[in-house]
């Protein structure tokens, strides 16, 4: 290299230019030529035909500057320069811009943890930079596979709520008007509800969120919904096995109503797809459970139940009656009526409408409901019935890349981790 530099005037260099459409040009130019000259050459129809100002050339991890000579970059024989085109509609400032120290636009959140929602009060807690810090719960708390495995059962949640510190945290959160505002804003359903704030701050709601008894009652109800046909609800004589889908996580909203409740106001369809309390449990597995839980409106079952009866209900029939009643006096009426605005015919009764029920469930456990907690506010993905090798194709490829070649074990691990490569690796390494 030193040799060629000595005779710089004469020295030529041959290199390749690879463009974004994978065309490769082999070009020979004098080493003293400027980058701009190379761009002009590439701009000709013979090569790329891309205007000079739209070209960006990258070699060995750096962007070539127009005014530099090619020799500056010490390009070796037959090495490759990448050419990246910038958008035509969005002409980028010449590389000169890189030397100006333009301050960031004020619109950009300065707090990087803010993620997608700048106003998120929890943002400060969710930044990756807090991972592993002492005053957050350790990963042991999340259970197997870092929380990707089975959710804690309702007793665990109830026990957690019995902890006065957690109950107090939740109460405080609900007392904080800013927090309530954020909850309402982060959730379109609540945002459309005029008296959402009232509801969220009502003692009933508070009770529901913080009272372990209410939760246990709710879980009893849930067990009733998903009880296999061999264990019919009290008073049920017809045990025709048609509700067996109710435990299938891939169950669609079209599952027939639960047997034994002809025309029952609550269909099990959605309950099969996303059991309301499973979602609740998932929220409980979250390190911010104390915050996470109240950010969501009422779970479907206790909503209709606790406030109208005042005591934990023990019978499914009971619920049926309660939820069938017109609910004017019920502070949660608005919640249930909300979907009506969207034109859903069965919206009056969330139990009869899988869609509404699902919506409620999403409010509970969906990452959207948690707002900033999940970072991404996307709704849960639709049910996936593809075979595992197809469904996990991308993850399998990643695992293969990492040196895990046992297909069956990979699939098993991915299943266990719910498709998380992270969790799967953990599992594979621990076994």
């Amino acid at each position: 290299m030193a040799d060629t530099a000595e005779s710089a005037a004469e020295a030529h260099i041959t290199f390749k230019v690879k463009s974004s459409n994978d065309k490769v040009h082999t070009i020979t130019m004098p080493e003293s030529a400027k980058v701009l000259e190379l761009k002009q050459k590439l701009a000709t129809a013979e090569f790329e035909g891309v205007a000079v100002e739209r070209q960006r050339l990258i070699y060995s991890g750096r962007v070539l500057k127009n005014d530099d000579a090619l020799s500056v970059y010490k390009i070796k024989h037959l090495n490759t320069i990448h050419m990246v085109k910038s958008a035509a509609s969005n002409p980028t400032p010449a590389p000169a811009a890189s030397t100006s120290s333009t301050p960031a636009q004020p619109a950009i959140p300065q707090n990087m943890a803010a993620g997608a929602s700048a106003g998120n009060l929890l943002a400060g807690l969710t930044g990756a930079r807090f991972a592993g810090l002492a005053n957050l719960p350790s990963r042991d708390m999340f259970g197997a596979d870092g929380g990707m495995g089975a959710a804690p059962n309702e007793d665990q949640i109830a026990d957690m709520l019995s902890n006065p510190a957690i109950a107090q945290t939740m109460n405080e959160a609900l007392n904080n008007p800013a927090f309530v505002d954020q909850m309402i804003q982060s959730n379109p359903m609540l945002a459309n509800m005029p008296n959402a704030r009232e509801m969220l701050q009502s003692p009933y709601f508070r009770n529901m969120m913080t009272n372990p008894e209410a939760l246990r009652a709710a879980s009893r109800l849930r067990r009733m919904y998903e009880a296999p046909p061999s264990f019919p609800a009290p008073g049920v004589t017809d045990t025709t096995p048609q509700g067996e889908n109710s435990n299938n996580p891939a169950g669609s909203g079209a599952v027939p109503p639960f047997p034994g409740f002809p025309g029952a106001p609550f269909g099990t369809g959605a309950a099969g797809g996303a059991n309301p309390f499973a979602a609740l449990m998932a929220a409980g597995a979250n390190p911010f459970a104390g915050f996470g839980a109240p950010t969501n409106p009422t779970p479907s079952a206790p909503a209709s139940n606790a406030p109208s009866t005042g005591t934990p209900s023990t019978g499914a029939q009971d619920t049926a009656n309660n939820s069938a009643q017109p609910a004017q006096a019920n502070p949660f009426a608005a919640l249930f009526n909300a979907p009506q605005a969207t034109g859903s015919p069965a919206a009056q009764n969330p139990f009869g409408n899988p869609e509404a029920l699902q919506q409620l469930m999403q409010l509970w456990g969906g990452p959207g409901g948690l707002g900033g907690l999940g970072g991404a506010g996307s709704p849960p993905p639709p049910a996936d019935n593809r075979p595992p090798e197809e469904r996990y194709a991308e993850q399998l490829r990643q695992l293969n890349d990492m040196g895990f070649f046992d297909f069956d074990r990979n699939i098993a691990a991915l299943r266990r981790s719910g498709g998380s490569v992270q969790g799967a690796i953990e599992h594979l390494l621990n076994n």
Binding site: K16, S20, P93, S100, S101, Q105, A113, I425
Partner: protein, 156 residues
Amino acid sequence: MAVAQVPRNFKLLAELEKGEKGMGAGACSYGLEDPEDIYFTHWRGTIWGPPHGQHENRIYELKMECGPNYPKEPPTIHFVSMINLPGVSQVDGAVDKNAVGILRDWTRIATELAKNPRPKEDPLSLESALIAIRKYMEEHKKLPQPPEGSKYPMYN
């Protein structure tokens, strides 16, 4: 140390060659900060912004440092170009290892690889780190971004 250095430099030499010859995936590029750096410590990288978002048509510059224990330990990576991305310091562009899966698990994967004398592929490299960061950027492609070409003050 002497034992560890030989594979480190062999590996980095191979990575350098791959980077300079452009044999990689074509979504990033990397090379030595100083081509004469015989210890392969300081590297430069660029990431082509992933499409369909705020990063589209942008080029992000990074610098990477491979310590003496590379590849047992991950490289430390900084953005030179300003970027709004959770887990990237707004002071110096440092990438939080915990934000990007491969960096977080690097040591563990390296240990696993060490048990397997001849892995078919080597998942740990500067390129795979850059690609993982790019993927991570793609996950946050909707975040508003500082003006293109701006750099963290310490690199100006």
